[in-house]
Subunit: 347 residues, 2 copies
DNA sequence: CTGTTAGCGCATTCAC
DNA sequence: GTGAATGCGCTAACAG
């Protein structure tokens, strides 16, 4: 059996409770006593048992992370950010990649509740307009509130639910990106996005784009990238092809894409159509994928603060767990325009 | 307070122990009794407490995942694979992105031990030849063996330590890729890799390449991609440039890269040098990055079975936790050649 | 400052 | 088949 506080206590000639206090740095314990106990503990190879501590104190020092794993590089970064601040406080992430069906997400959250996580970091499922369970989603999260389990949304949130969230400022980002293209002299700027993958983040990008176009009295050219027929086909590629073939694509000299992978697909469509990028058509992505730089030409993009997203979310969560009350916090993190060759000009 | 077995027991007019047996599907409990208890439990919103169960049974139903987060998309997939099989057995992953210094990895493993994880899924740190702590690494993992905490290496392993591991068959994969290039008629085939990021996986790729070249009585042209001077520079890009400028690059008609991102960098170097791919130089990556397909031309690559890696590792771990003894298992998973335009020909 | 006393929720002996 | 008793390792009152 592993050595316990009891062993340490016996060896040190003190009570277990004293050992407990010593190990938890309680100020009531004298320095020298603590040091003696700690040294004995270390000699004996004592290791605290978080399960016992958790049972007793009602805290597990774990956070359930319920996120999608599509666009997995993105989530890796977010989780790495969260993990790094949590680790400083002895917390860990209990991972739970959730497929985008709400039903699944629910049972997985239940499983994590059984593990007694102290809080949740959640990227709510995309709200597919074809089956809008949004109402049930709201109820679902409200249950968490009633059970007083803190949670914070990351990257996107659930409209109609006033909860903590941390997201990139997608609206401003889209505005900045669009304005950048307009400043370069473009008039017909299209926006390619996937309507079947809508969530609050995506919605705000679209709105940001539209708002700038309208303010400039230009016609917005939103272009829907449909679900590709065969599983592993390239969404952006098909969308780009169709846009170029359609009359809406006539005269378009710049394209902003809702995600980097969409942009990469569009880029291939442009290559295939022998359109020069950026000379004939300027292109810009959204996300900050590391591979964007490797494109030909290197892809300009809106870089999302992925690590910071996770870090902030973790901090809010820790606060809430410590009992911080107060109104929901809505943190919007700034993004950065990463200008490379594909959009045609330095900032 | 949350409802406990005690509450359920009182409500059902039975003892807690009966409830416990019922919930754990013990055959001693009669069907109807169990069903009655279960229904009451569900009515009362009973939720089992894994901390208590863990304290009692000595199992936490969690697995520590200690992996790097560079090449994060790769690890996302691996972890998603592991998670999916673990979830079926009520296990979860406790995440721990470890930077590649061994020292760090050690303290993080210690923290996870305190959380009483039932096993570890580990991607051992790269063995930087400049500071070969390999000996201490071995000891470090042996400690786990002595403590009888099961662990399995994923993707790479520690030479000199005969432990369970699951990896892609990098040696064969590199051989297949190299042979593919030779079959296309190439004689001077270079291999670009990063010596400062060596690990067993990388080493086997290099050896696979070399073995085929030697068998074909061709001169291997290994080319080292050095650590780029500025942090965020492109390793493969610089390496590609240097290779083209060097006399070793003379007459090279095909390049195999050790990773996809290296290949992407090389691709840019080729573009910059106005070399046509694949007409003048054929190119092939390694990894199966999702964005490889978006390259121009689409990048041929060796696709690694990322999800399967995680799935197998999880299964082995579960077996070991269940007490499976027996010699270390070394699982080598097959890879797939994904032929696209950059290498010049369909298979 | 340190020891005493009591559980946290559950699983596992044993009886019956 | 089911109930009673016991303790996993730890923390938190409350004494002293």
């Amino acid at each position: 059996m592993a050595t316990t506080m009891k062993d340490v206590a016996r060896q040190a000639g003190v009570d277990v409770s004293t050992v407990s206090l010593a190990i938890n740095n309680d100020p009531r314990i004298r320095r020298e006593t603590r040091e003696r106990i700690l040294s004995i503990a270390s000699d004996l190879g004592y290791r605290k048992n978080h399960l016992a501590r958790g049972l007793r104190s009602g805290k597990s020092f774990t956070i359930g992370a319920v996120v999608g794993y599509t666009s997995s590089a993105f989530w890796s970064e977010v989780l790495a950010g969260a993990q790094s601040v949590l680790a400083e406080h002895d917390y860990h992430l209990l991972l739970d990649y959730a497929p985008s069906e709400l039903r699944q997400e629910e049972t997985q959250i239940e499983a994590l509740k059984q593990k007694r996580v102290d809080g949740f970091l959640i990227a709510p499922s995309d709200d597919d307009p074809e089956s809008p369970d949004n109402k049930s989603a709201v109820e679902h999260y409200r249950a968490l509130e009633e059970e007083k389990i803190p949670f914070v949304f990351v990257d996107r949130f659930v409209p109609g639910l006033d909860a903590d969230y941390v997201a990139a400022d997608n609206f401003s980002a889209a505005r900045t990106a669009t304005r950048h293209l307009l400043r370069l002299g473009h008039k017909r700027v299209a926006y390619v996005y996937a309507p079947h993958r809508m969530n609050t983040a995506q919605r705000e990008r679209l709105q940001g784009y539209q708002s700038v176009m309208k303010e400039a009295r230009l016609e917005p050219i939103p272009w829907e990238a449909l679900r590709p027929r065969n599983e592993r086909s390239l969404e952006g590629l098909e969308a780009g092809r169709e846009l170029l073939a359609d009359k809406a694509g006539k005269g378009v000299t710049a394209i902003l894409a809702a995600t980097d992978s969409t942009a990469m697909g569009v880029l291939r469509a442009l290559h295939d159509a022998e359109k020069k990028v950026p000379e004939e058509i300027a292109l810009m992505g959204f996300g900050g994928a590391s591979t964007a730089e490797y494109m030909h030409p290197p892809l300009s993009t809106v870089t999302l603060p992925m690590r910071a997203l996770g870090e902030h979310a973790a901090r809010i969560l820790l606060d809430r767990i410590e009992g911080a009350d107060g109104p929901p916090r809505h943190v919007l993190l700034p993004t950065q325009l990463t200008i490379r060759a594909s959009c045609g000009a330095a900032r």
